[in-house]
C-alpha cells in the first residue's frame, strides 16, 4: 500500500500559525458560553467581569494583542495516522521549531525555563509538551493548547480507593476548586480524569479540556456526573474572578478509562476562561 507522505516543514509552518491564532482568538464556543453565562450571573461585579472578558476577546482578535500575557506552555496533542510517512527531519523538532517561530513572530511571552531549579528562561518558549497518539488511517491532527500557569497550578490528582466512589470523587473535585478560589481565573472549565492509573488520569483530565465547551460525555452516567458537579461547583459561590456569584465554572468535562481493581484515580485539570486551543488536520 502507498503510504501518505508529509514533509515536516509543513508541520512547522502549521504550528507557527496555530500558536499565534490560538493566543489571540478565543474559540467561538467559548465566546458563546461566556455570553450565555453572563445572562445567568446575578452579581453586578460578576456581570462587569463578563463584559470586560468579552471586550478583552474583541480587542485581542482585532489588535492581535494576546488575550492573556500568560501565553502559556504549549501543549500539543498529535493524532498520527499509521499510514503516514513523515519526511524531511525530526517530527518533534519540527513542532518545536513551529513554537519557536510562532512565539517570536506573534510577540508572545516566553514562559518556559530550561531547568525547574536553575530557572533560566529558554527564551523561545520551547520545549513544548507533546502527546502523540497513533491512529489508524492516513490523517494527521495537531491540536495546540497554550496553557497558563495560574490554572495549571490549581490542578491536582488523587489516588482514591474503590470505597470512595462517586462521593469521594465529588469531594476531591470540590475541595480542589474551593481552595483554588480566584487563582485559576474563574469562570473556569473543569477537566476531570477518572480511572486509568497515576499518569493516565492526569492526561485524561487535560484531554477533557479539548472537548467543545459543554458538550456532554457520550456515556450517560458520566454526563450526569458532569451536570451534577457543574451545579455543585457553581453553588460554591466563588463566582467570576472569585468576586462572588453564580458562575464559577462554565463546564465540567469528564474523561474516563478502565482501571486496576485496587484503584480509583481522579485528576482535576483547571482551565481558565481563556480556553485557547486550535487544531489543524492534514
Amino acid at each position: 500500500m502507498e503510504r501518505r507522505i508529509i514533509e515536516v516543514g509543513k508541520i512547522t509552518e502549521a504550528v507557527r500559525n496555530l500558536c499565534q491564532e490560538a493566543n489571540t482568538q478565543l474559540p467561538p464556543d467559548v465566546i458563546a458560553k461566556l455570553k450565555q453565562a453572563s445572562l445567568k450571573e446575578e452579581s453586578s461585579l460578576g456581570k462587569e467581569v463578563f463584559s470586560q472578558l468579552l471586550e478583552n476577546a474583541e480587542i485581542s482578535s482585532q489588535s492581535k494583542i494576546p488575550l492573556c500575557q500568560d501565553t502559556g506552555l504549549v501543549v500539543v496533542f498529535v493524532e498520527l495516522g499509521q499510514e503516514i510517512n513523515l519526511i524531511g527531519g525530526s517530527f518533534y523538532d519540527a513542532i518545536n521549531e513551529g513554537v519557536r517561530q510562532g512565539y517570536k513572530q506573534g510577540y508572545l511571552r516566553n514562559s518556559v525555563l530550561s531547568c525547574p531549579l536553575e530557572r533560566e528562561n529558554t527564551n523561545d518558549n520551547t520545549p513544548a509538551i507533546i502527546h502523540t497518539e497513533i491512529t489508524s488511517g492516513d490523517k494527521l491532527k495537531i491540536t495546540i493548547v497554550p496553557k497558563g500557569g495560574g490554572s495549571e497550578n490549581s490542578s491536582g490528582m488523587c489516588m482514591l480507593t474503590p470505597a470512595d466512589g462517586i462521593r469521594g470523587i465529588k469531594q476531591f473535585v470540590l475541595q480542589q476548586i474551593e481552595s483554588a478560589g480566584a487563582n485559576p481565573c474563574p469562570p473556569i472549565i473543569v477537566g476531570i480524569g477518572i480511572g486509568g492509573n497515576f499518569e493516565k488520569v492526569a492526561f485524561l483530565a487535560k484531554k477533557a479540556l479539548l472537548r467543545e465547551i459543554g458538550e456532554p460525555n457520550k456515556n450517560r452516567s458520566y454526563a450526569e456526573l458532569e451536570e451534577e458537579l457543574l451545579c455543585e461547583i457553581n453553588n460554591l459561590g466563588i463566582g467570576p474572578q472569585g468576586l462572588g456569584g453564580r458562575i464559577t465554572a462554565l463546564a465540567v468535562h469528564i474523561e474516563a478509562y478502565p482501571c486496576h481493581i485496587a484503584s480509583l484515580p481522579v485528576a482535576v485539570n483547571i482551565q481558565c476562561h481563556a480556553s485557547r486551543h486550535k487544531e489543524i488536520i492534514f
Binding site: 478583552n56 485581542s60 459561590g237 472569585g242 481558565c272
Partner: protein, 184 residues
C-alpha cells in the same frame, strides 16, 4: 457600571484609610510591575542591606509579566498573575513602605495581618484580561533586572487602571465576604 474611586500614585495614608474591601478604584500615575524572580532578588538586596533600584515608599506593585510589545506599542498583554506566590516576600516590601499591590487571588493570613499593621491595601485586576488592561498603560520602561525578560522590573505609567479592593487596612476581605453571600 459602579462608580470608581479615583486614586493617584504615590498613595497617601489618608486615601488608603478610606478604601474598603469591595470598592472599585481607578488608578492613575506610576506603578511598578514585577513578579516571582524580581521579588526574590529584591528581598536578597533588602536582607543584605543593599540599595534597591527604586524607592518603594507609597508605591504600588503590579504582579505582572507582560508579553512583548509589538513595534509601536507601549506594551503587550498585561494582566495580573496569581498573588499568593508573592506572599512569602510581601512583608519585606511592606517594611520598605510599599502601599499597595495589584494581583489576583487571595493572600495568606500573614499578608492580611501585615496589611493592617503597615496600612497597605491589596487590589485585584481582572485575570485574563491582558489585552483590555494593556490599553490603560501609557508608558512602560524596564528599570531593573532586564535579564529577567518578562520578569524584569518595569515602571509603568497608567491611566484609569481598573481594580477592586480585596483586602483593606481594617481586615476586610472581599473574596471571603462575597463567597459567603453566594454560597448555596
Amino acid at each position: 457600571m459602579r462608580t470608581s474611586i479615583i486614586l493617584k500614585t504615590p498613595l497617601k495614608n489618608e486615601e488608603i484609610a478610606k478604601l474598603k474591601a469591595g470598592d472599585s478604584v481607578s488608578i492613575s500615575g506610576v506603578i511598578y510591575s514585577f513578579r516571582d524572580a524580581a521579588h526574590k532578588k529584591l528581598i536578597d538586596l533588602i536582607i543584605q542591606k543593599k540599595p534597591l533600584p527604586f524607592n518603594l515608599s507609597g508605591q504600588i506593585v503590579y504582579y505582572m509579566g507582560p508579553s512583548p510589545a509589538k513595534p509601536g506599542a507601549v506594551i503587550g498583554a498585561a494582566g495580573p498573575t496569581t498573588s499568593s506566590r508573592m506572599d512569602v516576600y510581601t512583608q519585606y516590601l511592606l517594611e520598605q513602605g510599599l502601599a499597595g499591590m495589584i494581583g489576583k487571588g487571595s493572600r495568606s493570613m500573614e499578608v492580611k495581618q501585615a496589611l493592617k499593621k503597615y496600612k497597605a491595601v491589596y487590589f485585584a485586576a481582572i485575570g485574563g484580561a491582558g489585552a483590555y488592561l494593556s490599553q490603560r498603560i501609557k508608558k512602560a520602561e524596564v528599570i531593573a533586572f532586564s535579564d529577567f525578560g518578562p520578569e524584569a522590573i518595569r515602571r509603568l505609567e497608567v491611566e484609569n487602571f481598573p481594580a477592586i479592593v480585596i483586602n483593606d487596612i481594617f481586615g476586610g476581605d472581599l473574596y471571603q465576604q462575597t463567597r459567603e453571600k453566594y454560597k448555596l
